[in-house]
Every structure is written in structure tokens, then in C-alpha cells.
Subunit: 224 residues, 2 copies
Amino acid sequence: MTVQRAVVLVSGGLDSATALALARAQGFACHALSFDYGQRHRCELAAAARVAHSLGAVEHRTFPLDLRQFGGSALTDDAIAVPEAPGEGIPVTYVPARNTVFLSLALAWAEVLGAGDIFIGVNAVDYSGYPDCRPEFIAAFEQMANLATRAGVEGKRLTVHAPLIDMSKAEIIRTGTTLGVDYGQTLSCYNPDGTGRACGLCDSCRLRAAGFAAAGLPDPTPYQ
Amino acid sequence: MTVQRAVVLVSGGLDSATALALARAQGFACHALSFDYGQRHRCELAAAARVAHSLGAVEHRTFPLDLRQFGGSALTDDAIAVPEAPGEGIPVTYVPARNTVFLSLALAWAEVLGAGDIFIGVNAVDYSGYPDCRPEFIAAFEQMANLATRAGVEGKRLTVHAPLIDMSKAEIIRTGTTLGVDYGQTLSCYNPDGTGRACGLCDSCRLRAAGFAAAGLPDPTPYQ
């Protein structure tokens, strides 16, 4: 039987770890892809490598991508602070076109590998107002991808899976726990300390902590 | 009156130089974007800088993007030779998902700049079998881009212009000549020598030379 390969975007966070576990559970040989995009905290990349290894990815690559050249986000521009209280509308932690860029590079790698499947751990329920976490964005990207590539021309279907898109954070955590994800290895915080411990205050930490509480599971996050 | 900004993809070749001239002729303040993607010939990037400067771009950036990490094309993989005779189907010079990746990064920059327009010099007539040079690909990318970004959510329209898409090479050359493009500054060849002179043999050289002949204009290309 032919090996079915998938490219899985792995950030080091809770959601993408769960997406990787789901891809593996579906039988895919998983090629994990992370981006060194000038994010403030290198420990995210260390978390991504831990997650890819422990969840059985056949390969993990970290692609250098200097989004600081463009700036425009609290995550890629030192002049913009990460807020510690929720705001209105699209938050300053939104990185312009980030998921479009990440999915495009996943598509490039998928085409070289002969992989017909890409997994991304976006979530529309807790999506914090990011436009590129909505189901209509994922559907439009998939449609474009099937016109962009050799595979599309040759009649092979490229599928973009966003298996968490309709899940609550609690459902994500319960799903991953069932599949053996060790969430103590993941990092979601926007403001971790030098050893990778979470702040417990930022949007991302708040959503994560509420998810463990709602799931009725212990929170293994190392906090500062 | 507000300045209307556009991001223009500039490769150093004939087509993208013409696209830049057309964007300027429409009154846009043009931000030229090139990619250092591991292409075999650094002189392409020198040509891009010359073109951006001489055609009045307000800014030119070269974004490093190591597509050699994925390989899969004669242009990004030393193990694959550039052919000197036309073949069937999608050629080996096709770089997987290249235009998708380039347009995604143009979109990221456009969003930071507040630009509502992106120009790309793709051409479907002489497109050599590349799937990501077809009009249906450009239309699908534009639709996706309007769902991906802050501008889309806020009801501002992002337009992807591919003004050369239905032109023959001769029409492109006549158009650019009318707008003052100096094609002697551009480089289209897949196999230039160390000083940037064209081979005259590869697919790209052949299409270009035939275009000048059909346009009835002298070919200013420096050949080896």
C-alpha cells in the first residue's frame, strides 16, 4: 500500500499538537513544518520540535521566514506591545497574512513530497478575531491550492484539513488527551519567560487555562 | 488625495518589468518585491534592482526565502538540469507553488502598507504549462486573499492585477516599450553566464527572442 503523506503545520502550541495527533490517528505519515518567522520567543520552536518528535512525525523542518521585514504585529514588531487584557476587533497579535503564507509554503512542500493533505490547527470558536482562522478562508485556500499546483492540473485532489475548526478549547484538549498528547510539552503563551514558562495573563494563556478547566482535566502548563 | 499603494512582484525579467511600468502608469506608488529563493543566478536579483529603480518604484525589497529546502525544480535543485529543448506537459523549471508563495508574501506586505493592489506579471499565453500562471488561479487567489486579511474583514477590496495575462509576448514588449521600459536591463534566461548575458537556447530565451521578432522591435538582450 502506498504511504499517504501529509504536511502538518506545528507551532509548538496546544492546537497544532492536537492537529498532528489527529493526522497520525488517520494513518498519515506526517511531515511537520514550523516557521522561524521572527517570533519573539525561540522556546516556541523548541516546543514544536518536542511535539513533532513525541507525536511520531517522520520528519520535522523549521523554515526560516523573516516576517519582521514587514512588521505590523505585536508578534513580529518590537514597537507593538502584547496586551494583557482582551480588546475589540482584530487583535494586535494578528500577523498579516500569516496563515496564508504558512499554508502556501506547506503547499510547496506537499507538492514536492507528493502529499495530498495539509493539516492546520486553526480554530474558529476561540479564534480571537483572526480573519485567517475562519472556515471560509480555509475553503478558499483549498480551492486556490487545487488550481495552483501540478497535482491539481493532473486531477489529484489536495485537501486542507482544519480538524479543530469547530471545536471548543475543552473539546480540543479532551481529543488530544485521548490520543496521548502531552500538553505539558506545548507552549501557547505570548509572553513566556526565558525557560519557556507561561505568563498566565495573555489572551492565549487565558483561553488555554479556561479550556483545561472546562474539560475537567488538570492543567500541566508550567507557569511563571 | 490619498496615495494609492501597490505591491508589485519584480523578478528582473521582461514580464514583471512591464507589469511594474503598467502599475506606475495607473498612478500607483509602487513597492517592488523580489525573492532571493535560491535561484541559480544572482544576476536576476541585480536585474530586479535595476528595473525597480529605473521604473520609479518608491521602494524595492528582496525577501530571503529558501525554497531550496524543498527542491523539486530545475531552478531550485542542482540535481535537476535545465533543458535546452521544449518538452511536454509541466516543465522541470516549474517551482512548486512558487506564485502562491510569492503572492502570499506580497499580500502580507500589502496588508502592512495598507495597499489594496498587488501586481504580478504572469502570462497565460506563453505560460509554458505552469499551473499558477492561469487566470483561474489568479482569480482564486484574489478570492482567498479577501477572506484572509484584515482589509477583507473590514470591507476593503484587495485586487490582484495580472495585466499581461492575455497578452502575447509581442504585445507585452510593445506595451512596455511605449511606457519606456528598457528591456536591455531585464534578464529572462535560465542559464545566463557570470556577467548576466543570456544563453539564447532555453525556453525563456526562445520565447523572448520570438517576442521581439514578432513585435518588429530590436532585441536589446545581451547574448553570450
